[in-house]
Amino acid sequence: MERIKYSELRSTPKLWGLLAILGAFIGAAALTVLYIEHHGHIVTGMNNQIVWGVPHVFAIFLIVAASGSLNVSSIGSVFGKQDYKPVARLSSLLAMALLMGGLAVLVLDLGRLDRLIIAMTTYNFKSIFAWNVLLYTGFLGIVAIYLYAQMARGVHSFALKTAGMVAFLWRLALTTGTGSIFGWLVARNGYDAAIMAPLFIAMSFSFGLAVFMLTMIGTCTLTNRRYAVELRTRQARLLGLFVAVVLYFTLVQHVSNLYVVEHQAFERFILLRGGIYTWLFWLGQVFIGGIVPLILLFHPRLDVKKGLVILAAALVVIGGLIQLYVIIIGGQAFPLEIFPGYEVSSSFSDGIINKYSPTYLEFVLGFGGMALATAITIIGMKILRIMPVNLSDENVDITQV
């Protein structure tokens, strides 16, 4: 067994080609932002009923995945699993990159993008949104220090462990904050639930690890590095566990909602009669994003079939985006119940399922955020010693189980 060595990615045409493609996505998103900024949100599909749309689905996915992808680091240094340590650096870098990508989308969708500085200088401390601004910037700072501690020579293991602990607790707070953006919205039947915070934490574990594994496999393929099969399989099984946990929390979310009379109509909407939202929930979120990956990830020959891992992780990502679509858009599509027991109608969409058809601009913006996160990750791996060179099965410490 040799020491794990790390190296920067080498300049190859493949790497530059990939960066160029990502650059095209980012450029398209930048143009989109200018276009929306000039014309106003009228050019998007968002309206006065569905006020948060596809950009928010992408942004929140990236933010949730960011905190989740840090788990690999935490498992290594906080929970002392030696075999996770060689990939801890990537985990930290990826966490920062995903958060930056998500924040970029969130911020670029603001109605007054030019006043971004106000969001950073004027705080209303009662607002969970304002807390999140601090949680996000704090996360970037703390993970940067953590990454530094992971990479610098001669850092005392206690210091590393402390940094890892702080980062881990901070990320829990961050996801709680993100979940509470919705959980504390008492006005809406689709959101008002304390379960949102733990659900979001579970989602972050699952989405984060899926994104991490895709990044790891992708980078190793691109640069001819090794991703120890033993480690890969073990992480894949862990992902399977996380997927199961998300399914469990989703179950609890809906069952407990069914128990509350005032939320029953909403549950009927999502689970039975919501049209596109019902389809997305059952087929997208539960089947494609939950059950199929679960079957794949507990496949007995998972260790030899890399394709299964890739497929499962990709499905978790797609299912995650769909889940957030159902939560964010579905929650707004269901009409507000201002007058229980009455049929209501008005010129402002009262009493009807709110319509929303996203325009391609919103997707361009969302994919731009994903491309930005990927590009930051690649550039980070290019200039810093993030990726292990010799992560073969012989070099992974699997003595601790």
């Binding site: 109605g111 993008l113 106000i118 209303n124 607002s127 949104f129 919205l185 008492v186 008005s346």
Partner: protein, 245 residues
Amino acid sequence: MSKEKIANLQRRNFLKSGAALASVTLASGVTLMALSQGAAASADPNIRWGLLIDTNKCPSDCDDCVSACSNEHGWENNGLLTDPQWIRKVTLKDKQTGRENSLPIMCQHCEKPPCVDVCPTGASFKRADGIVLVDRHICIGCRYCMMACPFKARSFVHEKVEGQKSYSPRGKGTVEGCNMCVHKLDAGDGTTACVQACSASGNGAMIFGDLNDENSEISQALANYPSVELRDDLRLNLGVRYSNI
């Protein structure tokens, strides 16, 4: 404007300029600010403005309050989902009895407004006299207040706006909603455009006044007749009340 009034205004302006001129020599740099700080604020913490709407007196085919608001503030709803609506008429039909009812909904000016709690910059705020407003100078257009409002009282401006009323500025990328005609209240009119229109139509379904003043018409009416708050389960203590729903 009468001649007398004009003369009055001019005299006033002259005196003010004199004061400001003196202030230049006293302390340059604080001049007009000192003046306006000294002036009495119109948001009086002893007042809580409120509305009482009698739905029995509100015919379903009348939307005078809506068009009055639209005229006063210059917004327009042409039926697009992206169009703003500060006040809207909602028709209710009791699912069990089939009784139909109609009433206007606007910002309910909560005592504990969720929109103020969630606003990250503090652009959503409650004035001392209970009016819930958006300070569009610091609104960043995040729309979280719209997510939080139980009444859909707020609209996001999706397009460029031109030809705004000078007392009711509106602009693309910010959130807006009923401001209880704050410009009229500050000017001492003591009423709002929708209430004026409602009484002009002869229906008289809306009463405006100070909820804190027990002798006001609205307080008297609230004391003597039953009324409800919308979404009273949320315990937001609304400034707008309804009777005979």
